[in-house]
Structure formats: structure tokens, C-alpha cells
């Protein structure tokens, strides 16, 4: 396995899926050591859009570079202590002068403060405590914590309060992935184990990644190699959804696949929460081309049974058992790995027409 595991540790999608696995109920020291779960942390929300309350927006206006709202990758909760951990995954650290990430970090630091209960809609201010944590490669966490310290001071400077903050470092050590964290995080989240904690052990020549809950995110920067693999995982999941829908149908039938439905099923509903921008258009284009690829590799006769209509999506007409069996046979033989997974998709003039 030639995959660079050091690079993988810095990959935000790997970090996000790892964080989800750390919160899954599992037995200890078997697959992924469920550090979060054992400490009482569970997933509160994936990719929620959190908005600053109006008075805070007015208070920061022209004083602090903040966003009106932010969408962290993950929010974890500890039910027993009413604490929340806002998690954001990053390839590398950034300084206080980095416009976009610093602005997002200020917003999330504010949200992690006393306003958290209100922002989450759980009650009035100061009912819950929050901590903002960044996941990153372990060599990035020192700079990251410095930056967060400076940004928290900026918030203090305008007489507002930030929440706690810290960083998780993902580190490769021989055949183990370690998770490093500060005493501050350990104390706040009631971790029983001292940093670093062995969270994953893997064998030589083996990629340590777990099964991906979230297979793809067009909003993040990945290496070409990672993007190709994640695109393949996305396609495999789409294919499994299509095969399962066709396989279970009663004959004769017509099945309609809308892009939104396909993407939601392939991402456990996370597609729905992505901001509707160019990247979301990109992923819709990706899926459209993928379905076109599937269709184009079928026998000519079968192709006639698949139609695309911009408002409805793809309709598969399964008029008899013969068509059903042949359709299933040919789709089942389709191998996403044979596609050009690094292909750049350029917007076309017809994108909007295709969608509307």
C-alpha cells in the first residue's frame, strides 16, 4: 500500500470520519478505540448551520471580522454535564491574519461561549458550556492553539466572551494512529486517558482508514490521491443505492432517481446541509456524469429504458422480468474504479438548463 499515511492524518475528511468513529459505541481497543464514546460524548449534529444572535452580530459589527453564522463539521455533546464540543477539521493551521479561516474561528469561538445554549436553541445563555476544537495533523496544533489564543483575546478585547478552545492532533507512529490533546481539553471533556491515546492500530502495507460515513465533501481541500479514492467511495455508495432500489422493485415498475435523493442516501443526509453554492453544483454534475457513464456502458437496447428529465431525474423503466434482470446484471458489473476519478468537471452552459 503506497498511500502516504502522514498525508492521510492531515486529510479533513479522514479526520471527520475518524471523529465520528471515536463517538460510536464499540468495544475498547479492537478497531477504533472509542475515546469520545467512553468519555460520554455522542454526536449532536453533523454540519449544522449555527447563526450568531442579533445582539452579538451588532456587538461585533465593525469591531471584529466575524461571519454571521458558521457551519462546523461536527458538534458533540456530553449529556451528563451539558457540555458541547464544536469540531472543525483542517489540513493545516492558520494565523490570525488569514481572512476566511480566522473569521470562521472567531465566529465559532463566540458560539462556544455563553451564547451556545441560545445558538443551539436549548435555552437561554450560560446554560451550557462549550469548547471549540480543531482536528489537524499533530505538527500543526501548536500554531493552531496560538492562533486560537490570539482570536480569543480579540473577543475579550471587545467585552464579549469566547468559549474554551483546543486542538486534537492526529499523529502516525509506526503502525498506530495517536490522538494528542491538551490538558485543557482533557479536563473540559472529562477524558479518563492521558494524551496521546492510541486510537487505531493497523498492519503493514495497509491503509488505516475506517469505513467512511461521509464519503465526500466538495468544500474541502484534499490531495489528488485522496480525492480520487473519496470519489470512488461516493460512486460505490451511489451504485449500491441504485442496485438496492432496482433489485427490490415489483415488476413492471418505473423507478425515478432524483440527484438530491441519490446524494442524500450516499452521504447519510449530509448533502442536504451543504451550502447551496458552486461546490454543490459540482457534486450534482459529478453524479449526473456518473449516471451518464453507467447508461452509456449498457447495451443499446437497455439504454432506451433509461430516460433523463431535468425536473424529475432518471427514470428506469422496468417493463418486464427480462429487462429487470438484464438491467440489474449490467449495473452490477459496473466498476467505478475504471472511471477517470481525477477528472476535473468544468461548468457548462447547459448546467442550469439540466437542473431546471
Amino acid at each position: 500500500m503506497s498511500r502516504n499515511i502522514n498525508e492521510l492524518c492531515k486529510d479533513p475528511l479522514f479526520q471527520l470520519n475518524l471523529a465520528i468513529w471515536l463517538a460510536q459505541p464499540q468495544i475498547e481497543h479492537f478497531h477504533i478505540h472509542p475515546l469520545f464514546y467512553k468519555s460520554g460524548l455522542s454526536i449532536y449534529s453533523i454540519g449544522p448551520l449555527l447563526a450568531l444572535p442579533p445582539d452579538i452580530r451588532l456587538a461585533v459589527s465593525e469591531k471584529l471580522d466575524c461571519q454571521e453564522g458558521a457551519r462546523p463539521d461536527l458538534v458533540l455533546e456530553t449529556k451528563a454535564t451539558k457540555k458541547f464540543c464544536i469540531l472543525e477539521c483542517k489540513t493545516s493551521s492558520f494565523g490570525p491574519a488569514s481572512t476566511k479561516p480566522a473569521s470562521q474561528a472567531r465566529t465559532l469561538l463566540l458560539i462556544a461561549g455563553p451564547i451556545l445554549s441560545e445558538v443551539l436553541g436549548l435555552g437561554t445563555r450560560r446554560q451550557n458550556e462549550g469548547i471549540l476544537c480543531y482536528f489537524s495533523g499533530s505538527n500543526q496544533i501548536k500554531m493552531m492553539e496560538n492562533t486560537l489564543g490570539i482570536l480569543a483575546q480579540e473577543i475579550d478585547g471587545i467585552k464579549l466572551e469566547s468559549g474554551e478552545y483546543g486542538c486534537f492532533g492526529v499523529k502516525l507512529e509506526q503502525s498506530t494512529i495517536l490522538l494528542e490533546y491538551s490538558d485543557r481539553i482533557k479536563k473540559f471533556l472529562n477524558f479518563i486517558e492521558d494524551s496521546p491515546v492510541k486510537i487505531l492500530t493497523f498492519e503493514a502495507e495497509t491503509d488505516p482508514r475506517p469505513l467512511y460515513f461521509i464519503p465526500y465533501d466538495p468544500n474541502i481541500q484534499q490531495t489528488k490521491e485522496e480525492q480520487e479514492l473519496c470519489r470512488r467511495i461516493l460512486f460505490e455508495r451511489i451504485l449500491s443505492y441504485i442496485i438496492s432500489k432496482i433489485g427490490g422493485v415489483t415488476i413492471p415498475s418505473s423507478i425515478i432517481f432524483a440527484i438530491e435523493e441519490i446524494l442524500n442516501s450516499a452521504t447519510f443526509g449530509v448533502y442536504e446541509v451543504w451550502e447551496d453554492n458552486e461546490t454543490k453544483k459540482h457534486i450534482r454534475r459529478l453524479v449526473r456524469e456518473f449516471l451518464e457513464d453507467i447508461r452509456s456502458r449498457m447495451d443499446e437496447e437497455l439504454r432506451e429504458h433509461i430516460n433523463y428529465e431535468s425536473k424529475r431525474g432518471w427514470t428506469f423503466n422496468l417493463k418486464d422480468t427480462e429487462t429487470y434482470e438484464e438491467m440489474l446484471k449490467q449495473i452490477s458489473k459496473f466498476k467505478p474504479e475504471t472511471l477517470d476519478l481525477s477528472k476535473e468537471l468544468q461548468p457548462t452552459l447547459f448546467d442550469d438548463i439540466m437542473e431546471n
Binding site: 465520528i20 459505541p25 478497531h31 454526536i43 447519510f268
Partner: protein, 422 residues
Amino acid sequence: MTVSDISKEIKSITSHDKMIRCLDGYSAERMEELDERKTKCPLVKSYMLEHVGETGKQKNVTEVLSVLGIESGQIDENLYRILDTRENGEYMGFLEVLTPRYFVFYTLHPSDKADRWVKNLVLNSPELDHVWLSGLTFNVLWERVLQLSKPNRYVTIVFVHESIYQVDSEIYEEDEEEKEISLSLDEGDMVEIVERRASKFKLVDRISTVKESLSKLQADYAPLYAISQLRFPSPVGRGGHDFYHNGKVTNRSGNFRDHRSHILYVQRIYDELMNMTEEKAWYSMYKETVTMPGQFQKLIGAPVSIIFNESLSKETFDYWIKSTFGRVNNRFRLWGNPIILGPKKVHVYGVDKHLWKPIFLELTDKHLIAIVPKGTCGNTIHRLICNIQRYIDPAAKVYIGDMEYKVMVEQSSKGVKYEPKY
């Protein structure tokens, strides 16, 4: 009794009570014949079946059967007379609907005919499946046999484990598909000579003797964890009820009412187990609405982890993957394109081809991890466990989340309510 006689007998039944009386009398006659070692007619057999469609959206079972050309003549609210119009208008047996999800098919036809008929029924309908009783479940049911029966009674246990992935034998796998339901201990003359671990044997002894030895034997020889058939001794006479791993139950007692009671007992345990499995293992994104700013996505569920007692050799692992995902008709009934992540690790974002539901798997030489999206019947998990115990590792440990599956079965068997749904 000829096939035509059996068909006529079934046709003549007009009420639930008459069916019970008929099968009770018939069972008593067969017991007498068994005593004289001269069985003239087939024994009563029951098949526990499950409707695997999404809960609440399940079709009526009569509709499912009618698509296959099988007519269900209603006898009373929950009982049907089953006529297969494809087989010269032959009556096959009775179908008792316990709940929209579970039903039992009772028949008098000979084993080979009935087994084939039920197997084809399940194969041809993605909405139906057998009730799968894994070795782990049988080990807990054995504990119940110990509690329910006197120590001097005889128990029959059949163990089946075949390491079919230890050799690359395509012929073997295809042939076995045919033999899957009817499990005979007799070997004919035409037996292929292959070298791999294959344990298939029957243990008949007093309960007290088996109780003393079984756990020790299991610790020494792992295939003994792979129980695939267990007899519940009848409390009202000799003989008992033989439960098979695929939900078949043969009445080797003289009492049909007691036979039915045992089926209901095991069915209730299975029902409870299924509810617990699905409640814990189903992965879904739960939308939670809070006052502001809108809907939150909450991931709920738990992975299914199967940990092998012994690591698989590279050859066995490779053959398991090749044989499962390289063949349309494979033992695990799975589809997927393996993503190779190492010499002994693959990920598969695939489909359970029996139920046509997505299932995501991590397969290594040491474990199997499954993510089951909501809506996938818990039955998928039980079938997976059955197959792993039978063909990969009989002593594998299974966890749903951080809870051991064995504990879950124990809890299910203790949780049978005094006033159940059926």
C-alpha cells in the same frame, strides 16, 4: 399417504380448530409409527418465516404469495390454506400469520419437497426470508432447554461448520447451495475429496451428560460453537421439536399443540432479539428541529463487529473475498466492488442481495465490521452471523455497538412477555 392424499387432507380443513385437531392426531399417529420404526407418512414440519419489508410498509403476505402464483385461501383471521397453482393445483400446507412481520408455514409434505418449496419461495421473493438462528442464538436456546427439561431427557444437537473458503473449489460451493436447507448427515458414494476443515456431526445424549461436557468441548474444539440444530424435548411425551438454523422445525413428538407452543416461544425470543438489534444497529440521520436555526442532523446507530477467534490465512481471506464479491451467486448473497486497502483489508459499500438493501462492510483477516443503514432488516445481521459461524469462524464473537450479541440473545430470551402479541 400419497402427495395427492396430503393435498386433499389440507383442502378439507375449514377452521383453525380443525387444523390443530388434524395435525395433533396426525402427529400422534406418526409417533406410534416412529416407535414401531415404520414411518409410513412424513412428519409435520413447520417453517418460521419473516416478512423483511420495511416495518409499517409491509405488504399483506397473501399479496406477496399471489405474485408468485400461490393462492392463500382464508380459513380464519390469521390462518390460510396454501394452494400452489404452479404445481398442478396442489395444496402445500397452512400459513399462520403471527404478526404482519412473522408467520409460520405448517406442512405434511415430505422434507425434500417441503424444503425445496420453502427455499424457492424465499429465493423468489425479496420480501420473504427464513428466520435465521445463529450458533450464538442456539447456544442461548440450549440454556433454555437445560432450564425447561429434566436432566434424564435426551437432547439432539447438530453442529455444522465447513471452512469452505480454505480451498478454491467452485464446484463445491455451487453444489452446496442446493443442499443448504436439507441437512443430511448421510454421505452418498459420490463425495468430493477435499482437504479443509469440515465438521458436521450429531450428538444425542442425556441432557445432564451434555450439560457437563459441552462447554468444555467447545473450548477445546471451536466448531462445536456452530450449533445448527437443537431439539427441545417435549414435556408431554417422548421425542421433541427439532429447530434448524434456517427456521425449519420438525415435529418429532406426538403433540402438535406443544410443537406450536415451542415455535411461538422461539419466535418471541427472535422477535425481541430483532427489535433490540434494529434499535441499536440501524444507522440513520435523525432530523431534530430546534427553535433556531432549523433542522439538525443527528447520526444514530451502532456498528456490528464480528471478531474472529483465529486470524484467517491470506489464502482463505483472498478466497473469501473473491468468492463472495466475484460471483453473482455467492454464499453470503452480497454484491459489491471491494476497495482494496491492504493485503488483508477491504472495504465494500455493497448490497444485501436477498433484501436488496445497502450494507457497508470492512473485511479483514481478523474481523468484519458492518454498517447497516436504517430500513435494512435486522435479519441481514442474523444471516451474516449464521454464515460467519458456519463458513468462516465458529467461535467468532459478535458485538452490536459495545454490547455482546450473546448477551442480547440472553436478554431477549428473558424478555418474553407473559401476554405477548401472539
